[in-house]
């Protein structure tokens, strides 16, 4: 299993134990691109997750890509699907700013795959509680 797979496996296990529903770790939407993972919080709100691990800086395209997958998954304007990009790459303020504008949440994490998974779960838990 590659690094992304390890992050997804660790995150799915933790989320499942908190009554989240892991719909797919690699879902294919009807119209095209896939995301790494789609999950639903206990209240039924959907999150589309994309994990990008590596060196250097994040790229604007990565933000656009997860936003586009979230749009594809929405069934109408009322359907809330939150795109989340998880990365251990450096995220410049310019990318963070655009992500905010288009509604993509960025989780910056470092360390092992487990640390990245923990950061993701913590973020999702916090977000679900706040809303």
């Amino acid at each position: 299993m590659d690094s992304v797979g390890l992050v997804l496996a660790a995150a799915s296990a933790q989320l499942a134990s908190r009554s989240w529903r892991v719909i797919s770790e690699k879902i294919a939407t009807y119209r095209g691109p896939k995301s790494d993972m789609v999950v639903q919080d206990p209240r039924g709100r959907t999150y589309v997750i994309e994990v990008k691990l590596g060196e250097g800086r994040a790229h604007f395209s990565e933000v656009a890509q997860i936003e586009s997958v979230a749009n594809d998954l929405r069934n109408g304007e009322d359907d809330q699907v939150t795109p989340v990009l998880v990365t251990n790459r450096q995220v410049p303020p310019s990318i963070r700013g655009v992500a905010e504008t288009v509604g993509v949440q960025i989780v910056e994490a470092s360390g092992t795959e487990r640390d990245v998974a923990n950061a993701l779960v913590e973020h999702l838990d916090g977000h679900a509680t706040r809303r």
């Binding site: 995301s35 504008t101 288009v102």
Partner: protein, 190 residues
């Protein structure tokens, strides 16, 4: 399929950069974003420059004062041709601003994973097998010649070195050609 570029350059003002992009690639045309496979129209105001020609769609972002990020989607060209053309254009844009390709990755549209990357520069050229082989031979011949001249060929050093030179020349030629390719900024995939 798409290519993601990270290009480092000397500090340059945003309007100057946009102007240079316009001079090389043509007018900024944000409608190119509407037909993108990845970007939605919501991005129209966030990009620095966008343009579509028959070969590829180019979308540029200023990520920091010294880094430009580019997104290239091929239309009527293959991804390699499109990437090379975009890179040649960007080199013209930053002519005297020391453009450096920090990274270039090709991304698979289904898995969203990058599957191939490209590099430029002298270090990349010198690591190529076509350059490494003659270079190693040339270094070995040079070392052997020095040892020979200091020992058994001491009395006939000139003739020995003239004979040995044929082993060194291919290495020198390989390095010169590598330097020329690096100056041209040729993309090396791998």
């Amino acid at each position: 399929m798409r290519a993601e570029f990270w290009v480092k350059h000397s500090d340059i003002r945003e309007d100057d950069l946009r102007d240079r992009l316009r001079r090389v690639f043509g007018d900024d045309d944000r409608s190119a974003i509407d037909s993108s496979e990845v970007f939605t129209p919501e991005w129209r105001d966030s990009v620095l420059f966008a343009r579509e020609d028959p070969s590829y769609r180019l979308i540029c972002f200023k990520s920091t004062d010294i880094e430009l990020q580019m997104h290239v989607e091929p239309i009527n060209a293959n991804i390699f041709r499109a990437s090379e053309s975009a890179w040649l254009g960007i080199k013209k844009v930053f002519k005297e601003k020391n453009p450096e390709l920090t990274d270039l990755r090709l991304v698979d549209p289904q898995s969203h994973r990058d599957f191939l990357s490209a590099r430029t520069g002298l270090r990349t050229e010198l690591r190529r097998r076509e350059v490494v082989s003659p270079l190693i031979v040339a270094i070995a011949v040079a070392i052997y010649s020095i040892l020979a001249v200091l020992s058994f060929a001491e009395n006939d050093a000139g003739r020995f070195l003239l004979g040995a030179i044929s082993g060194v020349i291919p290495g020198i030629v390989a390095v010169v050609l590598a330097w020329l390719e690096a100056r041209k900024g040729v993309l090396r995939w791998g």
